[in-house]
Amino acid sequence: MTGVYIAGAGMTRFERTADASLLSLAATGATKALADADIQPSAVSSLHVGNMLAEATETQAGLANALVSWLGVEGVRADRVENTSASGASAVHRGVEAVASGTSDVALVVGAEKMSVGDTEAVTDTISRLVHAREYVQGITLPSFAGLVANAYLERYDATRAAFTEVAVKNHRNAVNNPVAQFQKMIDAEDVRSSPIVADPLRLYDCCPMSDGAAALVLSRDPGGVHVSGIGSATGTHAVASRSDPLVLESVRTAGERAFDAGALGVDDVDVACIHDAFTVLELLELEELGFYETGTAWRETLDGNTRLDGDVAVNPGGGLKARGHPIGATGVSQLVELTWQLRGDLPPERQVPAAETGFAINVGGFGNNSVCTVVEA
């Protein structure tokens, strides 16, 4: 139990190319969360910003400080957290700790990214440089790791590629009625099967897009809203091949244990989960590492429909990274925005997970380098 509550949540629509600047996106997300919490900016005592690429895209150095004045909250403590793809959830972790410890009464957590700025090659290169130098020299990218792992998964568990396809189809279906999702478009298995190969056996529709967007939370100790029951982060090896097994994501398992232990909860309590599906195979692997399913069985559970909105546990009801989009620093925050809406019962019937009381989110930096898990309760 952290004693920290999500008093407000909001986000911009995720999209391929936003007209607004990075700073403006961040401010819009923040303003929506503050309005949702029904508090004035002057009530904020700390600001925690998650972002990866502000310097790489030559957009804005000192993003958190610039956002302070944009929002008119001069005087607050402010910092920016960078943890590659998990920058958003790491900023949430920082904010939760600030409020739980009493050093901040009201924390504003903002995740924002604008990937459409500048040169796509430069952005892609910056992302690919998060790998180990001895991996970089081999031309390895994150999709290549996903391809290596996906082949190992198919071989080891005698799984079918159709399970990867089902993850993509399901997450797109979940996003169709989500107005903040980048892709509000149904796809079918044939769309996935006929899309270009990115890293065999994975195709374009197995991979999340590049996105612009922002998401924000207001955190406070005042009871009300959604309780952050537990939050935990953990790291794994930098180089993927250093692991004992390509199908083991130790940071995922450890962060999950820490978050569940902190909240005195377990996977069986979870009604709705936001899983870091940067690649379809990761949704399956993470569900197994976290204990939602036995090792080597998530592919079958997925094909059986057990991760759909009306399944045992609704996985990625907002569309996940795959269809909601993946504006890197915003993603981890947007997962908690989605869970807040689900647990408050804010959503229309076609989006709402029935009787959702406990939610779970995992945001993963690098290819399993650093994972952040959060458990929330209505």
Binding site: E121, T124, D125, S128, H132, A133, R134, E135, V137, Q138, G139, I140, T141, P143, S144, F145, G147, L148, V149, A150, N151, A152, E155, P196, I197, V198, A199, D200, P201, T237, H238, A239, V240, A241, S242, R243, P246
Partner: protein
């Protein structure tokens, strides 16, 4: 032999791993301490023949990397790494070794051998 504390700054050839001077443990990815005994001194170790654990053909690659880029995760008696494959496809369990001299990417210094299937 590397000096204590310099493991992290030592450039090895692509086909070389690190071998801990204290306990003999081997690893591939540069780090400041031995993952087994925390020793800070290591020497280069030339890798022999390994086994394919998994593979992929990356079709979308950075502009200075070949496309497709066939990559193999191989195990050399416990030392695991991912490297480019030369030649035809391999299957899980096939044996591979480093051979030849290639431009791995256009970046300076990015030259070295590729994994090559070994007939056994």
């Amino acid at each position: 032999m590397t000096d204590p504390g310099t493991i992290g700054t030592t450039d090895l050839a692509v086909e070389e791993a690190f071998e801990c001077d204290a306990c003999g443990h081997r690893w591939y990815y540069t780090r400041a301490r031995c993952p087994n005994c925390e020793g800070t001194s290591a020497s280069p170790f030339g890798l022999g023949t390994g086994t394919v654990v998994t593979w992929t053909d990356a079709r979308v690659t950075p502009p200075d990397v070949r496309a497709p880029n066939r990559l193999v995760l191989a195990d050399f008696d416990g030392v695991r790494l991912v490297a480019q494959l030369a030649g035809d496809a391999v299957d899980v369990g096939d044996r591979v070794r480093f051979a030849g001299e290639y431009r791995l990417r256009e970046a300076p210094g990015a030259r070295g051998p590729r994994l090559t299937a070994v007939e056994e």
